[in-house]
Amino acid sequence: MEVLKGDALHSLQAKRLRWTVEQAGKVPFYRKMLQEAGVRPEDIRTVDDVQKLPFTRKTDLQGGYPFGFFAVPMKEVVRIHTTSGTTGKPTVVGYTRQDLDNWSELIARNLTMIGLTDEDVFQNAVNYGLFTGGLGFHYGAEKVGMTVIPSATGNTRRQIEMIDDFGVTAIHCTPSYAMHIAEVAEKEGTTLPTLATGIFGAEPWSDNMRRVLEGKLGVTAYDSYGMSEMYGPGAAFECPERNGLHIWHDMYLSEIIDPKTGEVLEPGERGELVVTPLVKEAMPLLRYRTGDITMFLEEECPCGRGMKIARLHGRSDDMLVIRGINVFPSQIEHVLRSVPEVGDEFLVYVDRVNHLDEMTIEVEMNRSAFRGELEDLTRTQNRVVAALKEALNLRTRVQLVEPESLPRYEGKAKRVIDRRGDDI
């Protein structure tokens, strides 16, 4: 499947696309959308017919909260994951048993592609729980037959001890956590001799960072891409060439569009990645706008697999990735509206401190709420921190600032100052 190309691939994609359109028709949102667009499943004969379909946006999915986009009865849904949304409510993603199989098969394909086997010991140092990176890689690695250590995150010294004591050969974590592990390991005086493979994803990382991580951890580092709407991680992955990511064309029909006009772009032209998953049962999606900016690479990969996409660094919207968690400035706005002592204006600073992302939010005080007492202010500050923790699942620093002291904008407000830079 993974090396399928040309006509054989196109005919498989067309067949699966037709099935997906049929499956999507079981969702009221899509039934209406397809009706309005005048498209029936039998109108899908070639891959290019995908362009007859309208786009699906993240906000559409949120409108269906919680289960409005499920195309199967709840008893067929065997797992749920969620992902942060642009407002208070998350996006809920459902999986049938077949979906989970497809997904772990996909992860297994990626791991096998980079040479991992049942001889490997795999430490999965990412968040477990609702975040798809944990369970997704867990089951995929088990499928390969690897020895899986579900170490999750935190307690870095213990993580390092496990790598050494259990003879871990491959690790999966966010690139920033990998940097942290590398530093602590250095302090602990170990070179992590068994470690040979590093899989890093869930947040953008540069080639510069790759060199540093490979040097410090003694691994070959691979980039992994995906999002909950596409099952989770594993939708695209670097092969041993490590020059772009193979997006799996048998499972995802991908397009690159101009985010402003919606026009479909050619290989070599940078734009927004739009994905139509081809085998998703519980939650089919049509032309889902990922918001991620990339391009198809024109050159064929020496490994013989299909067309690759460039590594992903930018977003077409204002989403931030903080320690692997998606954050939309609109979520912060939503939280601030719920605290009457502060105003709506805010400014987010993102820094990388000791290789970990730190988010500082400057919030204007509400003039009428000030009674002159320091304790009131401290209480307000703590309240905002707690509300943000609740909504974003992230610890943030909150700075109270004077009313009307933050910059005002006529057009679109610039709410985020990302100071992490492109390097480490």
Partner: protein, 144 residues
């Protein structure tokens, strides 16, 4: 008894902990010819409250507010300290016996004696108790 006579208007100003804020407040008051008689700064995580007793609190409020500062009036009392050992302890005991909490205090060297500025949770009760126990309070007039 007219307790309001002893209720003194302190101005409390929110200030970010960044250079120049205190100087801006002091400078603005000076420009208006307002005298700062006493002040203290309370700091927390990244911000603070500047508390000041001035000779013209209404003018100070107006000026700082117009400059964009967040200002509020806070009622405090001013106790003239007897220059004898244990004066402070005596005052604390009077208030604690009456179950009045001191939220904060700061000192000010008055014309004749040291003066303690007190922010308490029940101003009226504090004024009555202190006077009843022979303490001396400065009236608001003495600050203008």
């Amino acid at each position: 008894m007219d307790v309001t006579k002893y209720t003194i208007k302190q101005i409390s100003v929110f200030s970010e902990n960044k250079p120049g804020r205190l100087a801006a407040i002091a400078g603005a008051l000076e420009d208006e010819g307002i005298n700062i008689l006493a002040f203290s700064i309370a700091e927390a995580n990244g911000f603070g409250v500047v508390r000041a007793l001035v000779d013209r609190p209404d003018a100070a409020y107006k000026k700082l507010n117009a400059m964009g500062f967040m200002v509020s009036f806070t009622d405090v009392i001013a106790v003239k300290m007897r220059d004898v050992p244990g004066g402070l302890f005596e005052m604390a005991r009077i208030l604690s016996e009456a179950e009045i909490n001191i939220e904060y205090s700061y000192a000010y060297s008055g014309r004749e004696a040291a003066v303690l500025i007190l922010r308490v949770d029940r101003v009226d009760a504090a004024v009555e108790k202190i006077l009843a126990r022979g303490g001396t309070l400065l009236s608001a007039d003495e600050f203008s």
